[in-house]
Subunit: 407 residues, 2 copies
Amino acid sequence: MDRYSRFLAERTGRMRASEIRELLKLTEGKDVISFAGGLPDPSTFMVDEISRIAVDVVRLHGDKALQYAPTKGVTAFRDTLAKFLTSHGVSVRDYDDIIVTTGSQEALYLVSKVLIDRSDVVIVEEPTYLAALNVFRELESRIEPVEIDDEGMRVDMLEDRLKQLQNEGVRVKLIYVNPTCQNPSGTTMSRDRRRYLLELASRYDFLIIEDDPYGYFTFDGDRVEPLKSIDREGRVVYLGTFSKILAPGLRIGWALGPMEIINVMELAKQSVDLHSSTLSQYIAMEAVKRGVVDATIERARTLYKVKRDVMLEELEQELSKLATWTKPIGGLFVFLTLKHMIDTKKLLPKAIERGVAYVPGAGFFIKRNGSNTMRLNYSYPSITQIREGVRRLAATIKEEIATTHTG
Amino acid sequence: MDRYSRFLAERTGRMRASEIRELLKLTEGKDVISFAGGLPDPSTFMVDEISRIAVDVVRLHGDKALQYAPTKGVTAFRDTLAKFLTSHGVSVRDYDDIIVTTGSQEALYLVSKVLIDRSDVVIVEEPTYLAALNVFRELESRIEPVEIDDEGMRVDMLEDRLKQLQNEGVRVKLIYVNPTCQNPSGTTMSRDRRRYLLELASRYDFLIIEDDPYGYFTFDGDRVEPLKSIDREGRVVYLGTFSKILAPGLRIGWALGPMEIINVMELAKQSVDLHSSTLSQYIAMEAVKRGVVDATIERARTLYKVKRDVMLEELEQELSKLATWTKPIGGLFVFLTLKHMIDTKKLLPKAIERGVAYVPGAGFFIKRNGSNTMRLNYSYPSITQIREGVRRLAATIKEEIATTHTG
């Protein structure tokens, strides 16, 4: 690094390799049950249908599907996407309010890049999605966390904070929320709080980034109405992805928002990657049209509901005295808080030693330290692995308590 | 725009929609022969082979090819890519010196983002690639152009400029070059100048971004040795793409450089788009292994050589008294300079009226105005269209001269 450090831009100082990520890399290929990732179960991928679609797309539309595409996305695909979203309860005014992105990570990157100036206040849920924090940090925004509970962001605390900031003469530009089956906590914002959040957005004049990767396959009850569909003032930029409802490997996400903002994102995207994979866009378009996405959603919903139930059941059996955890209605994660003040980051190598991995929660927090929390993924491991993994985790925790809290 | 302008970041002021781009959009679907794009001829795409590969990849490796991938790229693919590059005369120390990107545009974006600080001096060829200028401008670098002639960048003028800047106490961090079949000029840097450029890099301690989308299919003579293969000090970051040697729709490019820089690009990419399409990477990997890329290169070389010859021949016949132009040994473009001081930007609507489009050259220049130049693409239009298009262009120019320069 030394040789090149004099060439590196200042901002690279704000890009840090995650120790956890590096540590988890070491577990690959070993007999470690991983609750650490956020990967879909590959058995939800409709492999036969996708390969048939791939052939049709290349054979019948190869001249277009293999060619350059518009920066904003293939027009016919955006039209299909608009219909798909509408059928899933997401209000779309016009397909031109949509930009196709390289996964929803790029949607988040672009919207942040075009909205956030240095020192701008961005409010996030605490805990919140790590990759979002990284983007906001790179842009040198001032990140203000607001606690969440079982009903999502504490809008009462948000209001207090907004008032306080207003008194200090500080304007909040942006709130980033993942209101449905949140990553990492798994909680879902209630309907009342959603309405109140939009009211506050209007009153305090800020925009909302609604990140919604999981809203399409909640297990219990109906689809939760996204903020986007309640928004009457054009304050919400809605981010979505095919990663969990078709296949992550296509790398296709989108942002849906006021055209004035989407079009600036298009300009930004010209410099970033010109456009997203045309082939992936054609495949995703056909997958929507042929009902493959809806079928994948059904598969995922059924499978993940069972896996969630197994994880909750096993946690209840193994850890009810030592921890509390969230009961997600969907998504991929359970968030666990240990009753003892055990540092889950320090515990991780011991857990890996016993053959189980997780993500220590501290990284998802800004003000509170969350050092006794962890995020557990149930979508990727098999049912047997979930049972065995929770047992290994419980054994690790019990041993830690035995050695440090008594001995 | 007004409603949201108060929310937009300052940097969005530096992102401008291209008038030319908007104007050219209007020609789509009309009877206009376009020399404006930079698209490969779709007949070079090996559609049957790619669709066979797509099926195999999804059916046999669907669990991986449809899943998330490492940010730096699929490891086996980077290994294949390293061998491919080596076989094409690009020196690779280790496959871990490679990061896979969403087209080479993203490679350019990432390397610029990690190297360039505000006010850093970046030297470019004049004229140079527009999308590169946009990235450097967004990063608020100080762009210093150095003229090119038939042998590429005038390294003598570069040396003068470096001395001058050194005397002013200004250090140059970076030089961006597209030395083989340059976009837009079509010229290729001579071997002597390449060696001298590297000598200057050593003496004045700067890095070089070598953008090489066209070096794989030069028509005349052997493959030109890339700067990367002459570099002994780890000063070159080499950018490449499958867009012209397999299919642009896959959106797969790469950067090859000192691992210390590549690894910071990896960190930056985590925030930008997490990773590039896994499916595209698997398809590209198989295409390299099965010889489909090399076969595409042969197709492209044969076809584009004919097209270039036709364009040069037709220009000779139609415009030899009114213009001069470059004689590219490869790539996609001829760069034309009118002898009369006609503003090609103002001429464009008239040309479109006559059924032919091009890119006015002015946008490729920084100091010199280049208003009497234009870039002509010969890879996409058919041979008949090239002939007819040049005739329409000649007619437009002749009429312009007749009405404004005499009348």
